[in-house]
Each structure stands twice: as C-alpha cells, then as structure tokens.
Symmetry: C2
Subunit: 632 residues, 2 copies
Amino acid sequence: MAGLRTREELKRLEDLGRICRGDIIKMTTVANSGHPGGSMSSIDIFLSIYDFAKNDPNKPFDPERDRVIVSHGHTSPGVYSTLGRLGFVDIDEVIAGFRHPGSIFEGHITRGIPGVEWTTGNLGQGLSVGVGMALASKLSGKNNRVFVAMSDAEQAKGQVGEARRTAVKYGLDNLVVVIDYNDAQISGRAHNIMYVDIKANYLADGWKVIEVDGHDYLELNEALVEAEDSKGPVVVIGKTIMGKGVSFMEGDVSYHGKPLDFEKAALALAELGLENDIDRFVQMRKVLPSYHEQVQAIDEDVKPFTGDPIVYPVEKKTDNRSAFGKAVGDIGRLNKGRLPVMVVDCDLKPSTKVSEFEKVWPENFVQIGVQEHNAATLAGAASVCGVLTFFADFGVFGVDETYNQQRLNDINKANVKVGVTHVGIDVGEDGKTHHCLDYIGALRNFYGFKLIVPADPNQTDKAVRFMSETKGNFVIAMGRSTMNPVADENGNPFFGEEYKFEYGKVDVIRKGKDITLVTTGQVTHHAVKAADELRSHGIEVAVLNVSCPLGANFDSVKEFFSSIVISLEDHNVASGLGSILADYLVGSGIIPKSFEKIGVERYMFSGDNELLYDLAGLSSKAIVERIRGIIK
Amino acid sequence: MAGLRTREELKRLEDLGRICRGDIIKMTTVANSGHPGGSMSSIDIFLSIYDFAKNDPNKPFDPERDRVIVSHGHTSPGVYSTLGRLGFVDIDEVIAGFRHPGSIFEGHITRGIPGVEWTTGNLGQGLSVGVGMALASKLSGKNNRVFVAMSDAEQAKGQVGEARRTAVKYGLDNLVVVIDYNDAQISGRAHNIMYVDIKANYLADGWKVIEVDGHDYLELNEALVEAEDSKGPVVVIGKTIMGKGVSFMEGDVSYHGKPLDFEKAALALAELGLENDIDRFVQMRKVLPSYHEQVQAIDEDVKPFTGDPIVYPVEKKTDNRSAFGKAVGDIGRLNKGRLPVMVVDCDLKPSTKVSEFEKVWPENFVQIGVQEHNAATLAGAASVCGVLTFFADFGVFGVDETYNQQRLNDINKANVKVGVTHVGIDVGEDGKTHHCLDYIGALRNFYGFKLIVPADPNQTDKAVRFMSETKGNFVIAMGRSTMNPVADENGNPFFGEEYKFEYGKVDVIRKGKDITLVTTGQVTHHAVKAADELRSHGIEVAVLNVSCPLGANFDSVKEFFSSIVISLEDHNVASGLGSILADYLVGSGIIPKSFEKIGVERYMFSGDNELLYDLAGLSSKAIVERIRGIIK
C-alpha cells in the first residue's frame, strides 16, 4: 500500500529480501534451470514495488488494482518469490514447480498468475505495456497506478524510447518505472556491450529521473513516494549488484542464466542464514502432473453497443477502409460516456480512415506517430484493462513490422482489434515495400488471433461490429481501392440487411457446377464479375468467399470441391488461402478434378492496382481468360 | 566530390534545386500519385549530399564509392530528380515512368537503380543501413563514407536510437546523417504528433550535432565538410519547409502524399520559372511497357574459403548450434586477412555459439546488445558491401522480432547469413515466449530467403559452409538440445564424409513401405530412432528429412507418398512442413493412403524438452506409439 514506510516496515521488507533470495536459489537449483543472478539483483525492487502498489492478494483481478509489469521476464524467480512471500501465490508450489510442465510457474512470468499482469520475456516491450495500461486507466477515469520494472540491458531496445515519448506526450503521472541498473548482462558489463546513457536518454525524452541504491529499501520507498507526487512519468534508476546477497555470486555474470548446484546452493543458503530444505521440494517436484492447463487472467468485460449496420448500395463504389472507419466512428459515438473506447493511430488516419473516430471522440484518439512497435504493444495492454481498443495501421506495419508484438499480444490472450488497411497489391503505386502480402501467412503462425478479410464494405461493416463485441484478438485486413459492393443474383447487396456475420462461415456467393473459385477480400468482387460474365457464355462458376481464412468452415461447402477448384488471392500465393485450402483438402481426403492456386508470385512493383491485378491474374478479365482456357 | 564548394558551384546546385523541384511536380502530376511535399523539403539536402559524395555516375557500382542512403523512401521524386540531374539516370524516363509498372522508378526508391543503395519506405531502418555499410567499410579497410538522409518524423522510431548507439560504439567517423526537419507529417505538425527532441536524443547518445538551414547550400556544404573532419558520427539537422519553393505548397501538409493537378502544376512551374512540358511526358507514359524486370544491383563478389567439413561421430551427443558455431569459427579462421567476415551478435554468444568466431577474429565480432531490429538491418546492409556477414540470434528474435527487417533484407536481395538457434519447443524450460514455432511459416511469406533446417550437427556443418559460399539471404534454423548425429543403416554418419549439401534435396534416411515419416530439423533423429525400433516389430517405416522446407524437391521422392504419410515437425502444426507437403500433394495430384500432420498445437509451456516432445507426439516413444496405433 502506497506511502512512506516506517522503520519496522522497512525492516520487514529487508528480511523478506533475504528470504526471497533463498527462494530464488532453491527454485532454480531444484529446476536446474533459470536466472538467479538478475533475480537477486532485482528482488529488492520487486518487493518494494509490490508492497507499495495497491493490489490486494485476495482480489488480484480487481479492476481498480494498481498494475505491476516486470519487463525482464526472465527474472521470474524474483517475481514469483515476491508474490509467494506477499501472499499472491503458494511459495512451496513455486519452488517445487518452477519451470516444470506440470506447474504454472514457467521460465518467464505469465499473465494469469495472480500479480502478473503481462507475459514478458522478449525484452523491451514492458514499458509499452505500462504505458498502455496507464493510458487505459486515464481513459477509464480510474485512479490506479502502473509500475514497470525493467533491466538496464533492455534500455538499448528502441521500443523503450518510443514508449518513453508516449508517456510524456500523454502526461502519464500514474506511471513509474524502476530500472535495475546492475550493469551486467550475458556477455559481460552492460556498458561495454552497448553503452546506453540511461539517465541522459530519459532526460532527453522529458522524464523526471531519481537515482537510488536499488538494494536500499528506504531509498526505494522514498523514490516511489516522490514519484507519486510528480506531474509526469518518473524513472527510478536503482544501482544494483547482480547476484546480490551471496558473496560468491555477486557481480559474476555467469549466474545470469545458470543455477547453483546442490552443494553451492547449500553454501548460499547458509550464508543467507536460511534452512536448507531443498530436498523437500525435490520430492514435491517428483509427483507433479505432466502438464498444466493454461492460466487465465480474469479481465473486465467489454460489452460495447455496436449499433445497427450500415448498408452500402451496390451501385456506389466505396472502399472497405471507409466502411471500417465509419463503423469504428459509429461505435465511438454509441459508447461515448458509457464504455471507454480507444483508437490507436500511427500517423495514418486519413488513409486508415480512423479520423472518423477522432471526429467523434478526440480525447480517446491516441496518436502515437511513427512508433509502431510501441503502438501495437500498448494497444494490446490497454485492451485487457476494460477499454475497447482498436489499433489501425497499414498491413506492412500492423502485421509485418509489429509481428512479434502481435505474437506477444496473442500469447497474452489480449483483446485488441487491429484494423489493417492497404493489404495486397491492391495498394498499387506505393510499391513492394508497402504491399502487405502476408496478412494470412503471418497470422497463421499464431494460435489465438482471429483474422477477418472482408469481401466488401457491407461485410466490413458487420465484421467490425462483430469483432468489437467478441472477446479476443482480431485482425481485420482490408485493401485500398474502391469497389461496387458484392451483389446477389438479383442485384441486391449480398451482405445486406439480412446478412449476419458469423466467424468462419464461407459465403456461397454464386453456385455453379463447372468450376469453383475460392477467394477472399478485395478479389471477391472480381471473381463474382468474372462468374457472371462466364455464365453468359454457358460456363457455370461457383464463387466462395472465405472471409475468415484461419477458421474457415470448409466442411459446410465441401460439395463444391469435387469440381475444378481455383483459389484466388491478393496475397503471396505460397502462404495464404490456397495453401490453407490445400491443407484442408488433403486432410479431408477430398480430391478435386484439378486444383490451382492464383496469387501474387513475386514482390510486385508500383503501378495502378488494376494493372497489377491484370498482371497477377486477379482481375475479372484475367480470371475470365484463365477459365476460358480451361473450359473450352 | 567532397570539399568546400565555390560560390559558382553553390549557385549551380541552387539552380539544380529549382529545376528538380519542377521535376518533382511534373513526375507526381504525370503519375497522379506520389509525395511532392517532402521531396521539395528534402531536395536541397539530396543535391548537397549526392554532389558531395564520391560516387561517379559512370561507375555507380564501384566498390569504393561513397554510399548514400535515403531512409524516407517516399521522397523518391526528390531522389530520382537528383539522380537525373546529376547524371545517374535519364530524367525524362523518370518523369514519364514514375510509379508506372513499366518503369523502374517505383513509388519508393529501389536498390539497383544507379545511386540508390537500399530500398526503403518502411521508416526508421535507414540509419541502421548506414551503420551497417559504414561498419563494412571499416572492416574492409576501405575509405569510403556513408551518408544517410532521414525525415524528422521517423526520428520517433526506436530503431533509430539503436543505430545511433551502435554508431558511437564503433566510432563510425565515416558516417554522416542529415535530417530533414520540416516539422510536418501526415497528421499535422510533427511536434504535436509525437514530440521528439531530436537534438537532445542525438546528444544523449553521444553524437555531434550541427544545425543548419536545410535549404541553404552553403550551410549544408560547410556542415558536410565539418562532419568529414569529425572523430565520430555527426548529425546535421536541417530546418526545412515542406513544399518549399512553391508558394501555395509551402507548409501545407496535405501535399505530403498528394500530387498537383495539371492546372496547379502549371502555376507551380511558372512560379519556378520552368517550362511546362508535362504533356510530352504524358505522351511518353502512354507507350510504356506493361511491366519491368526487377532492377539488379551489382554487388562485390563474396567468395570465402569454406574449408573441409567436420564430421561428428554418431556415438557422441552434440548440438546443431555447436556445429554452427564451430563452422562459423572455421570460416573466420580460414578467411582472416583474405576476405572480411563479420558476425553480428545480440548478447547471446554463449548460447548461439558464435563466441567460436569471436575467439578467432575479435575485431570482426560485432556486439549489438539487445537491439535486434538494428542488428538485422545492419547485417543485411553490410552483406551487400563485400563482407561475408552472419547474424546469429535466437529464433524468436532473428525471425519473429525482426520479421519486417528481414522482409526488407529480402526485398533488397541482400546476402546475409542468419543463424537462428533455439527454435521449437526443443528450447524447453524458457517457455512459450522463447519457443520459436514459426521459423518455416514466417519465412514462407518471403519470396527470396532460403531456409535450411538441418537434421543434425553433420548436416549443420555442411549447410553452414554451403550457405557461406552461395549468394543470397539464408536462414539456418537450429534447436537447442544435443543428439547423436543421424546414422545410416550401417551405423555410420548419414551426413558423413561422402555427403554433400544440396539445397532442396530431400534425404531418404530410411526406406520402408508401410509408412512414410516426413520430418525436419531436431525431430529427424527421433523419427529415425522410432523407425529403427518399429522395424524390429516388422513395421517398415521410411524417414524423409526435409532440410529445406521452402525449396524441397518432393518430386524426387514422390514414390514414398502413396503410402500412409505423416509429417512431423517441431513447429506450429498449421503453418510449417506439413502444410507445405499438403500443398505439394494436392498440386501434384498425389493421393496418399492417409495423411496426418503432427506438430505443436498450442503455445507450449516451460519444461524439459524431452517431456515436451512426449506431449507433442514428437519423441521417438510417442512416434512409435502413434504408428503402432495405426498399423496393428
């Protein structure tokens, strides 16, 4: 609980520090794996922060709790021992189970364990997490604070600078960073490996800096109190010693990732004045189950009003991204004053169309500038704090540049709604650096993210409303160009009034016995146009639209696959829809008459998107030609 | 050519600035697309740098040339007009062809065009490119210099800070950065979007800062001369005005990405005192071809000695990463004093084993610390400057965290040899944040990168030597644990003396008619063990090792696919080898008796890698059980 500590309270923490050091040694020795050195360096910081934060061990998922983020997730022994000794978890279970598949106490800290707010381990993302949570707190009108513990080595990561600037821009006076400055990392002294003037860097970005002895509980406590009263974000730089507390470990970088053997552990525990009960934990470990279920955090429900769909008439050309922007704007308007909604932009609002939201709710429009890594992480973090969070960007930034940030959002089972526009060669003139050709193939590598690639503005509108009210991480991927919304055979909007978006459903837009086109996104309307033209030549072409390539219910349309099957996609032909369909066909033992994949076969160049579609075989003209070549 | 300019020379440049501004307007108007505002803001900087650099338009690929990197690649009209007016390219072709698919002059500048050293467009990578090229120059003992032009908006990108620190660490006095500080970006004034105190940031990282008027040729020239004499990297911050030179464009951010219409273009050209010959270019454009071949830079040949392979005996357990480290060390030893070889590490050398190289050639061992984005880009850039360049990292960093940096290396057709260790759940206790499960699926999205996933230390050794002497980008992906090298049926090393690595070859390690296991990497030895055990039970199992999943020559082994086929991989089961094989089977019309994919089906947790393999069905024990369940 915040505030200045009495001498007795400090004494208690100091004693816990000694006990936790023993726990760190025990658990790493029992596991014969893990990172004791950094844990013993950070332990006094962890105890100080967790003790200071308002976070009741009996209500660890209370929405009003302070959040503690530990960015250097490999110091899990330090974090777990702190949580054990402060009553969040059972310390015996920690020591016996650390890094065992039958235990939740993994090698890197894992969200869902009481007191752990974010799974970390890939350095440099933690400050963005803290910024996201501190922003969420502000936008929700809560008073909770956010503490971020970090290592010194990871100060070299660029994403930290991005997060730093964002914290200053948004005046996050509810954010405190504490850096474990032990000047030691795997390859030696941090200042030799890659010198970072940490203080100068934080000052350059406008932070208040407090320097303390990172093993002195009084100095740490005073710094946290001072930070609480500051007008903006504060960093506390705590000078520490790796392996602190055990003479033969102090300053020895080889203990970064190396546990003590039983003999050395006995020596260390004796030096710490602690009982050596390691054998008890070795015995406990032997009877652990062979695996554990995934831990699950309890997040605030996010139940937005999603309003009524907009129906776009088939006569009028429009683009998916405009429909996206309008729907997001709509959701902003409907929920303003009811549920916090936040939109994160990286200086592309006129193109991604989220300026529609900014008009409605400018205070909640978060402009991060050209700092995509930070943007993706902070959006993920905010999304688990009761804020409906959208992150809008071009495909090459929101998927490719931030691939590992999204992977961590996925591992964290966050709830972020990513809208990426400008996917495919449909982007046209901006050329290969801006053609995102892997929005399916990249996300296919993740286990949790859901992907929607809508066919037209009508499907886009409904998909945006659907993902907003559905828990979990989503990407909705859209092209750039305009089109006439897809019509049914009677000329009415296919995704009109009656249509309800359903994740995984494959839309049968046209039926036909001669050939089956399987497509997605921006290519769908070209396929439909081709099918309609071919029908007038007596060739019956079925068109299936797969708006959810990663979760497509192909079983429901399998009667179409005994025909000649062609997949069509504005995506790398090797790694997208065609490959997923092939996988399904082989796995299901379905043998089409023939199977062919059409997609983008090389990095494409600049050019008008219609020309590029012709070249790639994706325009209606090219599709007609191809099919007339097959069916003479 | 470097040095102080006379008044006449400056006058000539100034006049070229006026003419180039006209070119910028013409080409964007003719293309009806592109970025005139920033181009006109940067044009005086571009002219000053290209005029100053030692780079003969008649020998644009001379290895001794100075390199000019333009990080804000969307200012291509500015770069192309500069190159046109300085004699590198034909200005008429530029103006007529800009952003047309029949022209090499794409929307973002493209490596291979004379004078363009790197394809950029995704902001924030250019300084890393410059650092890589400046380092390469130092390691090669050349005297050439590197100039990097950047925008102010991209100073917010974290990767810039990473590159900045690296330049200081390596004392790169041959590197000069010039920033176009126009304080304008898409959404408005840069300082409102995401404030960066550019000067303070460079100073904090130890750079020398010179501030000038970015439209004043004298000041720019004096700054470049001063930079040349400095002891470390220098940044020149040039204050500029977006749209400079045409009154109604100046300071108007809407011209960031919007061309003038014909009428406005006429007004602008008149104001610049230039002839309006736009119609001539419109006519030229009409007769351009419908697409162009890829442009190709001429890089220095890199022909290393690769030495004799090391053969690891089957009795002794070892790990692929040790074999990798040894081979890289060997190549260092063999080429020292003959060909520059460089190894880039991100503070993981004891684990990736590249410390073997450091022992041999410490001066060329480049330690970047925890700055993976920068490391990946600088390695790619150095690799096209005559330096044999390795980048070693864990899979989650060298592939996932740096996904878009590797994508740009791919687009740039670089020559970097990426060694990633710690792929798969074979990593064990470090848990899900460190289990790289997408090393195949991620790279499958790129068009050029080659991927090798060696089965054992013997194949690793040969693969490393192969990729070192073979042009192009490679990733070699390795697990963490040790194994007995794979033996043939007589107990000799399968990949022994006689074996020659061949890209794409599928290795038939065991033959058998009952079932075919198709596998890769760390799983291979488990599959072989299972096959040998099953043989003693009368079940004949073929084992195919696919060391090159992205280029596998499945045709050569297709007789094995009519059997029961099972793919086995320590990879996300959805996106790896099994999916590639399914794709091949459907595409080739081959129908196996049955087809099943075994791989990793969820984010796995911490645990001993053998336990995890049991759980995932990848251990020899699990494979035997599975097969005995199928063939009773």
